[in-house]
């Protein structure tokens, strides 16, 4: 038997589904043995309308690769509906974080027949949809969890041929309408996500997706070879719910963003625009990358070039990306891994949430060796494939688009301006004063639950406990009388930094126990944490509480806050290597710690 040396690498897109299926056990062993990684434990209920065993097995691999260790509940064959609608103590005790409803077009009971009228088809559509709607409603009521629902793939056979698409009694037509209803429902419902198997099956090809033999024999609703694709897709959707999506794309320039070598070929010689096929391909990649940026992905450059040459490339008349689009621009002759590490520090994001795109396989290999936690897709050497592999790898999977997503790249550009200003002041206080900061600090409100959940699940560095919660759980805290919740949003003269900090304390008798205290690193050293502490004391005092208990739980990334409670004046209660517990007795009166931020609570 062939020993596998890089189980994790086998899961990298583009992957070989057969190898994954055949070596799944060895891959799993390797992923678990990978030392030094603390897995995030999550409970996932798979409710299937067909056999789900292999889906569970392969999904586990892709989740482990993202640092999520799943435990599973699996419904009996085709009992997805009964499992939810009737009393189910096992599932109740399991208390899922996510319920995945794996239904396919095989599960549509109410398909149109030739005896139908337009009205009766619409009635069937409404009935079929309401079956799923009632399922989601019941799940929400009973388990208060996130729901991931498959949409419906195109059928393998169409006795009507192409007419099936536009005839009102056609199956294809029916599935299309049903999928639109699912989309509309998920748009309105923050707890419902769609696993788009309609796209996935089309992408892979229906010929490869459907396998009637495996359906008749074992009741799998798709070919075995399609299962790794399904599991990969699903794992990315689940990962995005728990903050595992990447945030930053690091780009090579020569022969990646444009064709040719700018240092040798000069501005007129690089391939970008529409003159040739190669120009078209590089322009398409640039356009795609700009799209990523406009929805919140941070862009940086790591290029072996003279800085001026590299910068000049973005003055080409046909360039889509501009120099100003990048939050960091490393063009020099240092090793790229050093440049990428520096970038991570400068813009304050974890290196495991960065993706590195480079056409040069030697460079990819070297950087990957130096920084194992960096995502380095194997984009091959064919420029027309780069974009496809980047897209299908699903690094930047969002669950929702928040206003913050559209603003994010701007924050980083504004930060460059703030840093310039900082260098002009002798003491830090007068710099802070000059920023003319205003903060809005208030309890969690429905409008911001999405952003708060996103922040809770994405923040790694300034995060005292690194506890992760789903949106339904956050909503529970927001509505609980036994909790104090606060979010903070910071504005200054350069712009709006957005909602950047979250606090959550749970009241037990007359004490407050801090479950969450976290802040986005783009507002470090702005005294916002002091303003938050002032607000926290004020609210705790209003509830007549005596003490605030804060815990620090060490992770690989949050050393910067190991002494945070001490700095705020908490006393140490208990400490072990990984945790420390701190206590603050609330005085009857206290002066404001924050001096530079004007606070409102609206």
């Amino acid at each position: 038997m062939e020993q596998i040396t890089d189980g994790e690498g086998l899961l990298k897109y583009p992957f070989n589904p057969s190898t994954i299926l055949r070596k799944k056990r060895a891959i799993k062993k390797q992923l678990i043995a990978k030392s030094g990684q603390a897995f995030l434990s999550k409970k996932i209920a798979i409710l299937g309308g067909s056999t789900t065993f292999e889906i569970k097995e392969i999904l586990e691999l892709f989740l482990l690769r993202q640092g999520i260790q799943p435990s599973f509940y699996e419904s009996e064959y085709n009992k997805y509906f009964e499992d939810v609608m009737f009393e189910n103590p096992t599932l109740r005790e399991f208390a899922p974080d996510i319920v995945y409803i794996h239904t396919t077009s095989q599960n549509l009971e109410l398909k149109p027949t030739f005896g139908d009228t337009p009205e009766s088809v619409q009635a069937k559509l409404a009935d079929q949809f309401s079956k799923f709607e009632s399922l989601w409603q019941k799940l929400r009521e009973t388990y208060n969890c996130l729901i991931i629902q498959n949409n419906f793939e195109l059928p393998a056979n169409r006795s009507l041929g192409d007419l099936d698409f536009y005839e009102f009694r056609g199956q294809t037509n029916f599935i299309g309408q049903l999928n639109l209803k699912l989309a509309a429902a998920a748009q309105k419902d923050d707890f419902l996500m769609i696993n788009d198997i309609h796209y996935l099956a089309s992408w892979i090809g229906l010929e490869r997706w459907h396998d009637s033999k495996i359906w008749y024999l074992y009741k799998y609703a798709m070919a075995f070879e399609a299962i790794p694709h399904l599991a990969h897709n699903l794992a990315k959707v689940i990962g995005s719910c728990f903050g595992k999506s990447s945030k930053c794309l690091v780009l090579d320039l020569d022969n990646t963003l444009w064709g040719g070598v700018i240092g040798d070929d000069g501005l007129a010689g690089i391939k970008i625009g529409h003159e040739t096929a190669a120009c078209e391909a590089h322009s398409a990649l640039q356009s795609y990358v700009r799209e990523l940026k406009s929805r919140g992905v941070i862009l940086t450059v790591a290029s072996k070039n003279d800085f001026e040459n590299a910068k000049e490339g973005f003055s080409h008349p046909d360039t889509v990306l501009k120099y100003e689009d990048f939050a960091a621009f490393k063009a020099n002759w240092n090793p790229k891994d050093e440049n990428i590490r520096e970038t991570a520090l400068e813009i304050n994001i974890g290196i495991d949430s960065m993706v590195f795109l480079d056409d040069n396989p030697a460079e990819r290999e070297l950087v990957q060796q130096q920084i194992p936690e960096l995502q380095v897709p194997n984009i091959g050497s064919e420029i027309s494939e780069f974009l496809t592999i980047l897209d299908r790898s699903k690094f930047f999977e969002p669950t929702r688009l928040s206003a913050d997503d559209f603003q994010r790249p701007l924050y980083y550009v504004d930060n460059l301006k703030r840093n310039e200003l900082k260098s002009k002041f002798e003491d830090y206080g007068s710099f802070l004063k000059s920023l003319e900061m205003k903060a809005e600090i208030a309890a969690f409100s429905p409008l911001f639950l999405g952003r708060i959940t996103q922040l809770v699940n994405k923040t790694n560095q300034f995060n005292l406990t690194t506890k992760r919660f789903t949106e339904p759980e956050i909503k529970n805290f927001a509505e609980s009388p036994k909790a104090i919740t606060l979010y903070g949003r910071l504005l200054d003269k350069f712009g709006d930094n957005g909602l950047v900090t979250v606090l959550l304390g749970e009241i037990i008798e007359r004490d407050l126990h801090m479950t969450l205290w976290l802040m986005n690193c783009r507002v470090l050293k702005r005294d916002l944490e002091l303003a938050m502490f002032d607000a926290l004391i004020e609210r705790a005092r209003a509830k007549n509480l005596r003490c605030i208990f804060g815990r620090y739980s060490a992770t690989a990334k949050n050393a910067m806050v190991s002494n945070f409670y001490e700095q705020l004046g908490f006393e140490l209660v208990d400490r072990d290597p990984a945790n420390s517990l701190w206590k603050y007795s609330i005085p009857e009166t206290s002066s404001q710690r924050n001096k530079y931020i004007e606070v409102t609570s609206e």
């Binding site: 038997m1 057969s18 008749y216 024999l217």
Partner: protein
Amino acid sequence: MNEAQILAVVQNVFRDVFDVEDLIISNETNSEHIEDWDSLMHINLVVAIEKELKIKFNLLELQDLKNVGEMVKLIQDKLEK
């Protein structure tokens, strides 16, 4: 490919699928002998053998394979066709 060669290929598939490096199988091996060889893992074996030898089993053939020997014979028939 003769029977012994096919058996060697099949054995490699078994070793991967069950992740037992030194697993030895013979014509008499059946699902009683390998603890994890249930109907679910059986599909993994079938799919991996199909892929490895670029053959396709028929629906009917798959339902009544008694042991490895029958599997090997079936594969040999297919490869000779």
